[in-house]
Subunit: 312 residues, 2 copies
């Protein structure tokens, strides 16, 4: 595939397997689209799909899923502990390979408009696709959930959707569509049972308390392993790499005389996140993507047959 875009739609159905499978089948009922992961949660009454497709295929795949969810889910009878405002609640597009965040903003914007046009479900744009600063964070859009929003949207102009009328869809509510960078869920385990140390290290590393940019972190206890963990989300691994957080965590833990035991990735990690960690840790001065053999070969294959006479 010449480009890879990830899409992680969240649907407000986490109990009826048949309905979730029907939504998955709809998403996958087109070319160049793959299911990387699927999770259902009964308590949240919510499903999260991880789809991968190309720049051309991913938008239609999301639209097929959104359309099917609108047929199967009625928010008026939905209950679950996770906040939600739509049958399809939130749909982020994430650049993986051969596409930029800006490309994903375009895809998200097109999808948001199509959702209104095709299904008469109004939509909001969030994240990098947000058209107003107060809509960058999806929690701000979702405030009050379906039950409050359907009232407020008719009376409060600042809650009006980006596409569609000032009223929600009667059963499917509204959908928040957006673009963001890949989020790496990365945990580092410390050789101590003292939770206070993990909490203190987490505080040092996270952006909100003056640590590294684009890092969220908290300290948690791992009772089964007799360890504590610094549990992190890296929201931009190009700004702050896995190697950068490892270094800070190692240093801050060492101040307590504690070592790093190991670390773990939750879910998937893009190849470039590991490459970037290696290059940064090893301080490779002449690094560029075309230093990697497979990338060089890919470039040559695209240029074929012009490489025949190239001599250094």
């Amino acid at each position: 595939m010449d480009s890879i875009v990830e899409c992680v739609p969240n649907f407000s159905e986490g109990r009826n397997v048949r309905k979730v499978e029907a939504i998955i089948r709809s998403c996958l009922a087109g070319p160049d689209i793959y299911l990387l992961d699927a999770g259902m949660d009964r308590d949240h009454n919510r499903s999260v799909l991880t789809l991968a497709g190309t720049r051309q295929s991913i938008g239609e795949a999301a639209l097929r899923g959104i359309g099917k969810a609108a047929q199967l889910i009625d928010l008026n009878i939905h209950e679950g502990v996770h906040p939600r405002i739509g049958a399809t609640d939130v749909v982020p597009f994430i650049p993986i390979q051969g596409v930029t965040l800006e490309d994903c903003v375009h895809i998200a914007t097109w999808v948001a408009e199509e959702v209104w046009t095709r299904f008469r479900i109004p939509t909001y744009l969030y994240g990098a696709a947000a058209r107003r600063p107060e809509r960058r964070d999806l929690e701000d859009i979702r405030r009050g959930q379906f039950e409050s929003l359907r009232e407020e949207v008719t009376t409060q102009p600042h809650r009006r959707p980006d596409f569609g009328e000032a009223s929600l869809h009667a059963t499917a509510g509204t959908t928040i569509v957006g673009a963001r960078k890949f989020l790496v869920a990365y945990n580092i385990n410390l050789g101590t049972t003292e939770l206070a140390i993990a909490k203190s290290v987490a505080k040092r590393v996270r952006a909100s308390s003056g640590g590294l940019p684009c890092v969220k972190a908290m300290g948690v206890q791992l009772r089964t392993r007799n360890l504590v963990q610094v549990s992190m989300n890296l929201t931009d691994f190009e700004t702050t790499s896995l190697a950068a957080v490892f270094e800070v965590v190692a240093r801050e833990a060492a101040a307590y005389g504690v070592n790093i035991v190991d670390s773990e990735v939750v879910g998937l990690v893009p190849r470039r996140a590991l490459e970037r960690a290696a290059v940064q840790h090893l301080r490779i001065r002449n690094f560029g993507p075309d230093l990697i053999l497979e990338n060089r070969l890919e470039l040559l294959r695209e240029r074929r047959p012009h490489n025949c006479l190239a001599m250094k």
Copy 2:
């Protein structure tokens, strides 16, 4: 491409650009074959090509180059400072992706036999393809070069080629064909001008003096940068990763109060070498290749369409 095999043929011509270009064109005159790099050296009077192809294409590409070199190069009138015994001197096959070293042994063995069959050039097998322990190192095969070997081969049974008669080709000599792992040329630069420190660190890290396995290392002066360098070849980055040599060099240099300034990769590095360095440095405990998003997607694409109903 479903598999990637690298081939690095060395030809005994480093002065006549037209002849080298003709050999390159022959190598590339088939499907699924790409030139990653080409180097000519006047003093060595030798050219080194870096080709990439598939399991199916790489052998024929090498054979086309070997055939063309036999037409264009006469070892009787060849002179250069680099030792050589053939118009095509040495041809290693290296697994990159989707193939094993054992696969490359099979390719090398087939090519060695074909070189004799098609061109009446006798061949030796070396490296992982060697059929006798004393032929694992190509320098042992090349001892005495073309001028001595053509005499010895007729009288000394232990110098007899693996394929072909006990006499060399009159003008093309013989060719050494083999298989080996990818060699990463990796240098670490130290913040000092004292060459003795680089030499001492190199001694600690290299396999031959009890350091890390599969590492060759020497200390050299970088006058233009006012630094010294530990210049290394990693002959098996899966046994000893870039992160492992970095760690040892950092520790040994620190014993002299010297820091690592940066490092550099010479030539190309396979993607897996960087991934392995990251995983080792970060101590990722749950790592497997399918934790990488692109690999997971590749697996799904191969299995298509069976992924549709897969639910976790």
